[in-house]
Symmetry: C2
Subunit: 271 residues, 2 copies
């Protein structure tokens, strides 16, 4: 996420100066080589010394510890945002640390691949980028973050942290759980048929290629909302099981027709 942002920012606006830090020295030198950063520092403290906006593009468990580590090195009006997939806990912690200049952020881009080798200048193009202000948010800081997101082609949205977490439970965390579970189920029950799987399985399991450790952190962080989404899904799935058991064609069709309609409405709202 960080590498792609550096590449995109430096590409669209020559005056933007990007400094980067990664705990991995190999990543730092790769980022320099590919032009994702102008300067790479040995410590996070050095990276933020002169920075106006700091983007914490690290796994969700690392965001707050890293913020704490760099806090004393921040310029007085520095703005800090993150790219974590879950917001309630992180925003609460960020605000406790630096107040209203911490702006929770979540660019909804990326792929099942991660790391500097997957960095792409166009990652954020047309992607939604959500910011999650609260009652104490500094509105200039929020504007600056939105502006940065738009510079790299993202569409910005603003939701309260809790609303964001309910939404992503449905539109990101539940799809990941279903993808992992589908991959496991098919392999267990019909491994010998892998060669004849078609598009619905390929697309339905694509994100099972995502990092299990990263997703463990995300799911742990958004447990409550994800559980609610999974339980709601189960209710639907239970109705389908009963209809299949009974051979109730009318009920099966009704379930599919409604879901098909919901999918259509989603498509319309989205475009």
């Amino acid at each position: 996420m960080g590498g792609s942002l550096g590449l995109a920012l430096r590409n669209v606006e020559a005056e933007v100066r990007v400094t980067g830090w990664s705990r991995n020295p190999v990543t730092r030198s790769k980022a320099l080589d590919m032009g994702a950063v102008e300067r790479a520092t040995d410590t996070p403290e050095q990276a933020v010394e002169d920075a106006q906006i700091i983007v914490l593009a690290v796994p969700v468990d690392t965001i707050l510890p890293l913020l704490e580590q760099m806090r004393v090195s921040l310029k007085p009006n520095a703005i800090v945002t993150d790219v974590g997939s879950v917001k309630s806990r992180i925003v609460a912690g960020g605000e406790e640390s630096i107040g209203g200049r911490f702006i929770g952020g979540h660019p909804m881009a990326g792929s099942e691949d991660s790391g500097i080798d997957s960095a792409s200048m166009s990652l954020y193009h047309s992607a939604p980028w959500v910011f999650t202000p609260t009652a104490i948010t500094d509105s200039d800081a929020l504007d600056a973050c939105c502006q940065m997101a738009r510079m790299v082609g993202a569409k910005t949205y603003v939701f309260a942290p809790e609303t964001h977490d309910r939404i992503v439970a449905c539109y990101s965390h539940l799809p990941h759980i279903l993808a992992y579970g589908l991959a496991q189920t098919a392999w267990d029950l019909a491994g010998e048929g892998a060669a004849i799987s078609a598009g619905s399985f390929r697309d339905g399991t694509r994100v099972a290629g995502s990092s299990p450790s990263l997703w463990t952190e995300i799911l742990m962080d958004n447990r409550a909302a994800t559980l609610r989404a999974l339980e709601r899904f189960d209710k639907w799935s239970h109705s389908m099981k009963i209809a299949l058991t009974k051979g109730d064609q009318k009920e099966i069709e009704e379930l599919l027709v409604h879901a098909h309609q919901a999918h259509k409405e989603w498509k319309t709202t989205r475009s």
Copy 2:
């Protein structure tokens, strides 16, 4: 499916003569206009009179009635195959009607769109095409069907009808059920967030755009195997719910790591 096959066959091999019939006259004239067929007939009986291979590209509920209707018009050595997504019942019925020259087939291509307007010459390119012979299958008829599938670029596979049905329950029918259920769940719980859904939701629900009536027929036809797949998925999902409820990070990670590994194995087997 039928339109795409006609387009592809006529494109790769000038000597292949394709005659088509559809119950819808508009489809017939469109198929002629786009060159998917050389000749379109008013009745299925006329279409099969001189045919060597008949491909029944109709919904699963219509395959056997249509075969029955055209049976008396078939040439003595005509071969009949179908493109239905479920095989056990259809193959049993097809063999009862015309014996070992009925070859169950299932090209695993297509998209959430259907109908002649979605016909594409490249639909079958690199797609798996399964045939499902039984003990009474005429082996020359099977070879002829495989040859036709390879002509349009498909990779052919051979499985018993029951094995096919267990495999597609996992690699096609379960993914469809999950896609419909996911679309319904997200719309019910977080409709206002539709705009910020990302790739995992888009891909995970893509096939919820498929025809509900078509999929009702398919699920009804493969009820037993689909139920077994859905129940196996539920077992996995239940473990995930318990782990989320407890906040058991180790258990969540274990579930994801295993599923991620299964996905990797699938990818390797497939390529």
